[in-house]
């Protein structure tokens, strides 16, 4: 920075910078001040990166069963970074012992058996982004024949950490796709309602109020129960998103309508109309850009609701079905007291849900506050 001139010109420069900045730049400046929202942004990005290539972040194949590691406890507490003074991350292996009387299996940490960990190690083969066959994983045991269970294993000996990674893909994408579909319905119906007003507006408004007054879960359950059990997983996945958006569009339509209503009488819209611009041009060139930011904020706040809904449906057994892995499906494993009492680490997918929902909520809150940078 060379311009260390007097304070007054600097203020001027700031004001000039502010006046010349585009709307999106202003929003970014206002968003950046929001610390929690920035954290939310980074966590959300991180989760979506995991969702893009979950296998890269996995340690072992999420659907591979292993009879010798049933309810293997988490090894995260046995993680050590230094070995005899030098930096060599490793975990202690665990040995299966049986109680001599009850024959109940217990896992005991075995400090003599060290499993060394490395970055970018070779592991099971998978398709990166569904395109290239790859064997590299972000981290894992250096020796591919070793197994580690950072977050433990479930009742079939599958690695919980890897399953959470795999679940991120389904759970996070179902939120996005479901919100996208709700947004399509919401923009069309909310737009019609707010732009034309009158009788159509009245009818759509009553419909929205009606839908918002209904309890969502029973309706979702009834719709999901209508899906045939023997459908392929992709069909079910698609239909679940459709079902979620059938109920979820109402809130977004309301936001869109409100924006249309308030913008309809704005000077620049009236000016465009007087200039003889077509209705399509007014909507897409004049109105849509000016409330895009509000839509983005509402959409971000709608995603967590979708994620929670999918989790609840799958948890109750009427959403996605195993072998599909989503966070809700994983939490089904934790459904009864007996299994969570023996393996409390089965709650871990729940923590993933909470982190994702929190991050998206913070991000959405920050976006909503930044959405109108001309305020104040």
């Amino acid at each position: 920075m060379s311009d260390t001139a007097a304070a007054a010109p600097a203020v001027d420069r700031n004001a000039a910078r502010f006046a010349a900045a585009s709307q999106w730049r202003l929003m970014w400046w206002s968003f950046r001040r929001h610390k929690l929202a920035m954290i939310g942004l980074f966590v959300t990005l991180a989760i979506y990166i995991v969702a893009l290539a979950p296998d890269f972040f996995s340690v072992s194949d999420p659907i591979r069963q292993n009879a010798r590691s049933v309810y293997h406890p988490p090894q995260i507490g046995l993680l050590h970074f230094f070995d005899e003074g030098s930096f060599r991350p490793h975990v202690y292996g665990m040995t299966l012992r049986r109680d001599p009387v009850t024959l109940a299996p217990t896992f005991v940490p075995d400090p003599s058996r060290k499993i060394y960990l490395g970055l970018f190690v070779q592991g099971y083969e998978y398709n990166l982004l569904g395109l290239f066959p790859v064997e590299t994983h972000l981290f894992g045991p250096v020796d591919p024949r070793q197994n580690i269970y950072l977050f433990g294993a479930d009742r079939l000996g599958r690695d919980v950490w890897s399953r959470i990674m795999a679940g991120a893909q389904i759970s996070m994408s179902i939120g996005l796709v479901g919100v996208f579909m709700s947004l399509l319905i919401g923009i069309v119906l909310g737009g019609i309602s707010g732009y034309y007003g009158g009788g159509i507006d009245f009818a759509i408004q009553r419909t929205i109020e009606f839908i918002l007054a209904l309890p969502q879960i029973p309706i979702w359950l009834a719709l999901a129960a209508a899906l045939p059990q023997n459908w392929p997983a992709t069909y079910t996945y698609f239909m679940i998103t459709v079902i979620l958006s059938l109920v979820g569009w109402a809130q977004l339509a309301r936001v869109v309508r409100g924006r249309f209503l308030s913008l309809r009488t704005e000077d620049f819209v009236v000016a465009a109309r007087l200039d003889g611009a077509s209705e399509m041009r007014i909507i897409f060139r004049q109105m849509l850009p000016s409330f895009m930011s509000h839509i983005v904020a509402s959409v971000t706040l709608a995603i967590p609701a979708m994620i929670l809904a999918e989790t609840a449906l799958s948890f109750l057994g009427l959403g996605l079905q195993p072998p599909v892995v989503s966070w809700g499906v994983l939490l089904r494993e934790a459904q009864n007291v007996r299994s969570i009492a023996t393996a409390p680490w089965l709650f871990a997918p729940g923590a993933a849900v909470v982190i994702a929902v929190l991050a998206l909520n913070f991000l959405g809150d920050g976006l909503r506050d930044a959405a109108d940078p001309y305020q104040k």
Partner: protein, 328 residues
Amino acid sequence: MLGFIVKRLMWMIPSLFVVSFLAFVLIQLPPGDYVTTYIATLAASNEIVDQTAAADLRARFGLDQPFIVQYAMWVTGIVTRGDFGLSFEWQQPVSGLIWERMAFTLLVTGSTLLLTWALAFPIGVYSAVRQYSIGDYFFTFLGFLGLAIPSFLLALVMMYIAVVEFGQEVGGLFSDRFVNAPWSWAKVEDLLKHLWVPVVILATNGTASLIRIMRANMLDELHRPYVTTARAKGLSEFRLLVKYPCRLAINPFISTIGWLLPNLISGALIVGVVLSLPTAGPLLLQALMAQDMYLAGAFILLMCGLTLIGTLISDILLALVDPRIRLE
């Protein structure tokens, strides 16, 4: 005021009609009907049902009629005789199965609503009056957490803690010895001992969002000139708060019944399943899985009807509190 109430009541008629139609469409959606399921069950145990027997069964349950006729029969039965049809799975009238369950659902959601208000009102006011204090941050954080934790997860965690730390199982609304016992003081006491678990779980979520609403409302009011005037006149801070801004800020609070109740009913369903409460949720889930359509339909109809009535009550209350609304 009377005009407003009458007009609002008139709206209930088409709404209830649409809800009943919706419930019926929902239960008709699954491919096949109960007889198909029944035959499949019998076939699994190597019993073969011939076509005429299946047709007889369909005729007996009225399943061979066109959709709209079945709907008309169903609604007429409910309105005139309180007859919700027959539960195929339980082989008894639906009306005998649902009322006790709905009563417990109402009890759980009603208590939750009361607890939510009792918690959210003072905390919301406190957070607004002491904005950016440690307490405010604490409750805001708690609020975000409450919004992010699904209620069933909270129920599972509570169950886990109860089992591991206290060595007892939570779940149900009664202890074993009271489940089938006739009503007595001891049974009510036992009920209260169990009731708090689902109520606290369900209240977390609603309280979190209500606190944020109350805080925002209060913040809008606190800097109005009338507050400054009242303070300048020497009114004590507490009386001032209760007398003016609280009364204005409570408006949107009342309207929350409208959207809180649907959420509560939804939440109560899942928590009911997890904690195996004798509420509507577990039975509805079971009925949906078994395609026991009249039973499922009755629950969906009653749950939706309940939330519509909740919205009605909140609208009327709002009009009572705020004259601007009823004159609109």
